[in-house]
Symmetry: C2
């Protein structure tokens, strides 16, 4: 069990800077993120695209922004728990008990949700019966490609991930590639390669088709796909792979008793606390009148939320407002002599 | 008469970044500041002291911060009106008429007050009758030292400005130096020099004395100063110079009909508008529940206030929220191809 002052959910720019603000006022924090690396959307969606509205930084990429923030929080030795996700949050006397998917347990005085627009999760087949095959015959990402050797694999999707896997797996498997449109959106070179593999009989192509039905009980026997013109086709297959891109999901946050507004969490603007005392929400995931989904707003929200956390972590103390330029204590905490 | 969308009062970091946010959404702005250079408190109070809490900038000086912001707003060609101060603000149909000390006139749809903690002004003598001599026989700063030639000048103060002028003017004037304490706070070398000039009869020294009374009608004939032990002394003098340091004054802002809270202006947190529609206040000068006087909060406040200004500048249009990373329009405005 990890006991600390604050658990931050989300390692994007907002979560990182909140850790800095907590450190400056003497609070300890740790960060959980379900991605495998730090940086959130900045790193996941636009690591190399320039951003122009970070104050006093005329231009930087998502990766540079993340690296600058990591440099800035270095003095506080923040511990990251990546590839993990908070599942359960429970009030525990005046504190909160938190359990993650990887069964890590935290005991904290506050939680700061800096979860962006939610967790990135693969978009799935819309047919209900797919759920029972998920993880057995239906996959949305590939961990071990060897399980497909010498099997028939039907891949759905028209983007790079679908095309790349179709090309890669065609070496050892029989491949059906199904796409709901006529045109593929992946790189032109990959599209050419797919067409070539199709022309030599290594890949079967079904365009303007979508999944209609699955036949089979334990395993998949075959599937029925439907063309735009309503005609159908039955294909024998062992596995289905769906590559429809990522969507954002709030996930377990929905079950924590928070006031929600569509896919965001309602907060006050005094310290960005939610309706649950001791749980704060900052960055793109929070909502209040006037909210803009700007990174710079997340910084402000994190600074005020940090002061909100102080009340719970040190109920007996009064926090004195100080500037980093002149505060001896802040400089000590930053390791500056 | 200058007609533009927004007049920003204050060229500190908050005002500068607000101009950036206005530019990004297509609004024109100009900036008035009573200092002679851009940068506000950052430049006036700590140009070379490091700041550690600008997000994603682990360490920078006030001067570097200002230069970065100037670089960032370059694409918008913001016009600055330095050494000037807004005196009068009047509603003019749906817009605002603004007049400065230097008699510049503006017609704008909104005003953003980013005035920090007010204007820097010299601390003055506390005796009411001093006002009528101000600018004639009493000065708090020196524009032309030649007017004092061959006159008797009585300097009040114990800091560097008082000592430096006492030394300088002792070449051509008879100098009395009056200080309310026994010790001077100026540089040791200056203190030594003052003592030397005193010992050779070039400067009269009166320590532990304060101004009590002024005699004279058009010009000053003499003054009476009082010692800590209640004894008094009359000194003949032509001029009084007061060097008691700078204080912050809200100045004319007090007369614009704004809701004040001590020395700050009350705003909402939706767009940082004041009780006067079309007048916004951001940065250290504004107050709302939770307000922290952090530069990073001023950035957030400026971003939201800019959207508030849009309503007044383009009442017929709806502002679409866009990210600089992906917005074609924002990139055009930033001059990026």
């Amino acid at each position: 069990m990890i006991k600390t002052d604050v658990l931050i959910i989300g390692a994007g720019p907002t979560g990182l800077f909140c850790a800095h603000q907590l450190g400056l006022i003497g609070l300890k924090s740790e960060i959980v993120d379900n991605l495998s690396k730090v940086g959130g959307q900045c790193i996941e969606l636009y690591p190399d695209k320039p951003i122009y509205d970070i104050p006093a930084i005329p231009e930087c990429t998502g990766e540079e922004l993340t690296n600058n923030l990591l440099e800035q929080i270095k003095p506080f030795n923040i511990k990251f728990h990546l590839n993990d996700r908070v599942e359960e949050v429970k009030k525990n006397q005046n504190r909160w008990s938190v359990v993650t998917v990887n069964k890590k347990e935290f005991n904290v005085s506050s939680i700061v949700i800096a979860g962006g627009v939610g967790s990135f999760e693969p978009r799935k087949f819309s047919i209900k019966e797919c759920e029972k095959f998920e993880g057995k015959s239906i996959f949305y990402s590939i961990k071990d490609k060897n399980i497909f050797n010498n099997k028939t694999v039907t891949i759905f999707g028209g983007g790079d991930t679908a095309l790349d896997w179709a090309i890669e797996l065609s070496n050892n498997c029989k491949i059906n590639l199904v796409h709901r449109r006529d045109e593929f959106s992946g790189a032109q070179a990959s599209v050419e390669k797919i067409k070539k593999l199709h022309s030599v009989g290594k890949i079967n192509l079904y365009t303007k088709f979508q999944l209609m039905l699955i036949k089979g009980s334990q395993n998949i026997d075959s599937i029925i796909i439907k063309h735009d013109n309503e005609t159908t086709k039955e294909i024998k297959t062992d596995y289905l792979l769906g590559f429809f891109g990522l969507i954002m999901q709030l996930g377990p946050i929905l079950n924590w008793g928070l006031n929600l507004n569509k896919k965001t969490i309602k907060v006050n603007t005094e310290n960005f606390e939610t309706n649950q005392s001791g749980i704060f929400a900052i960055g793109d995931i929070c909502s209040y009148p006037g909210k803009l989904k700007l990174i710079l707003s997340g910084f402000h929200e994190g600074a005020l939320a940090a002061r909100g956390c102080f009340k719970y972590a040190r109920p007996e103390e009064k926090l004195k407002f100080e500037f980093t330029t002149t505060s001896k204590l802040a400089k000590e905490r930053l390791g500056i002599k």
